[in-house]
Symmetry: C2
Subunit: 344 residues, 2 copies
Amino acid sequence: MLVSESRFLRACRHESVDCTPVWFMRQAGRALPEYRSIRGDGSILDAIQKPDLATEITLQPVRRYGVDAAILYSDIMVSAYAVGFGVEITPGVGPVVNDPFSTLDDLQRLRPLEPEEDIPYVLETVRSLTKELAVPLIGFTGAPFTIASYLIEGRPTRSWEKTKAVMKEDPSLWNSLMERLSQHAIATLSAQLSNGANAVQLFDSWIGAIDLAEFDVLVKPHLMNIISELQTRHDSPMIYFGTNTAHLLSSLDVLNADVIGVDWRIPINKAWDRVGRSHGIQGNLDPSLCAESYEAAAQGALDILGQIDNQNGHIFNLGHGVLPDTDPSVLERLVELVHEETRR
Amino acid sequence: MLVSESRFLRACRHESVDCTPVWFMRQAGRALPEYRSIRGDGSILDAIQKPDLATEITLQPVRRYGVDAAILYSDIMVSAYAVGFGVEITPGVGPVVNDPFSTLDDLQRLRPLEPEEDIPYVLETVRSLTKELAVPLIGFTGAPFTIASYLIEGRPTRSWEKTKAVMKEDPSLWNSLMERLSQHAIATLSAQLSNGANAVQLFDSWIGAIDLAEFDVLVKPHLMNIISELQTRHDSPMIYFGTNTAHLLSSLDVLNADVIGVDWRIPINKAWDRVGRSHGIQGNLDPSLCAESYEAAAQGALDILGQIDNQNGHIFNLGHGVLPDTDPSVLERLVELVHEETRR
């Protein structure tokens, strides 16, 4: 079997599949005992600089769960970190920026990313994985809004106050920042694809914080630029994922991403209608159900599959990342369940 | 002028008004220098036990901003705290519960609230305010889902994992918990109304974390019970407010609250269509615009007013609480702007 004909990539292309493909955001990570035993202490930004370790961590969930795709063990902040912006990932907190972005001068700390020079270890991991994997490898990076919000706020926020201030008060500075981060995204994802990744996902975790008008004017053009540039350079599927996007779904259609990932807050069939049936849809089981019990997860999965009715173009996933205290056996059984229930 | 004929209460009742009423969630608080100078250190749960202090803090924004309603200085957790569940409000964190709710036994720590015995200081503050205020006083408490999530998680969460586990695994325990918290809400709000509050708001800040099906089955019946019970006992308007409710709006219609408060994520006119035009609507300026500049806030306000077109039943507010570093002069000018722009 060729990876290009795998059910995951076929689903991304809206082609017929033998059964619905499954993978889990953050499938590589703390839920797995084998991860905890090799991960060691220290920042993820250090861990991903060890290609052997990052490769093994990426492979673990593929072995354990039988998922239909691997997702690169990396971090959404790696590009900003690699060009020297000054980013740390503090355990229990998340990305922390010691000297947050606020003026035009700060753009100088965001020089263009040159992947071969700046993140050779990521590319080495990608190459090493491509060699080993029988299922597709999904590369990823953070989308510009989400990265910008971390760079501006300095740490995770619930109000996005400073970010919105820049968007509103200085749209020119905002757009310059988004352009730099778009270059990072294009360069990172393009290099991942050139080195062997089979698809890429843009993570825009916090995009739901803004309203539709802000999205349309100050974010969407940048996303369209990233997606069209990658589609020009590569013939590989592109997934766009955000949370809390119920109010933005109608504008995600024109992004023209191959697949739109959605969270659990809106029934998947309704979401699919709103982002356009010509795009694939990924999602959307509430991760808390998996942390709860197999029964809860299975019931939630069956609800989703009942809405989808084995339509091509659906990729089964969670609505956000695997929670750390999830019992791995729940995810393992869930993969089997989805495969069995959707066998064409 | 009678308070019962004030523009705020008329708008709650969908009656004609001379101009659109304005108040701000968390208008009493850290944005005001006069608040910081009298508030002192220590928990808000201590501060609200001093009726003179709580009265003065409630009055400050009325004096400063010229808003059309006062909102009681209190906390959504006061009932759970008052019956001895063991709740603290940690500055910079929020509600923290030392021994979180997890089993039937924990219900024993949630005995029925007897307002006159358990929170006499709140009622004293209400009475003292009613005496002084020329504008309506809004009482409030937390809605059962949001309180339950704090009691179960033990602290603010982004995943609501434990809460959802109880909802799913033990709906009977969940419903018992919701019933206790509903009794607290009814008793608190009813006592506030009996002691002089003119309207009440149920704050359900985290309700957007669950999907429509969970809301309909495990939350909505309890909210309907609270609202109908209060409407039976009192002839005063009831406001229901949540954030991230874009996916829940269609189910908020049947709650039959007099007014539905919405956040900034969805255009207010669209929200109003979805919650039903027979209900009033409250909102929905993004608070970050007020923290940014008057120009940004004014532009956002004009956008909202342009959608509403001076229809009766609109109460102007923010989409969530005032951010602490908001310049009070922005809010002051905003009240004037909304009044002028909507003069009938």
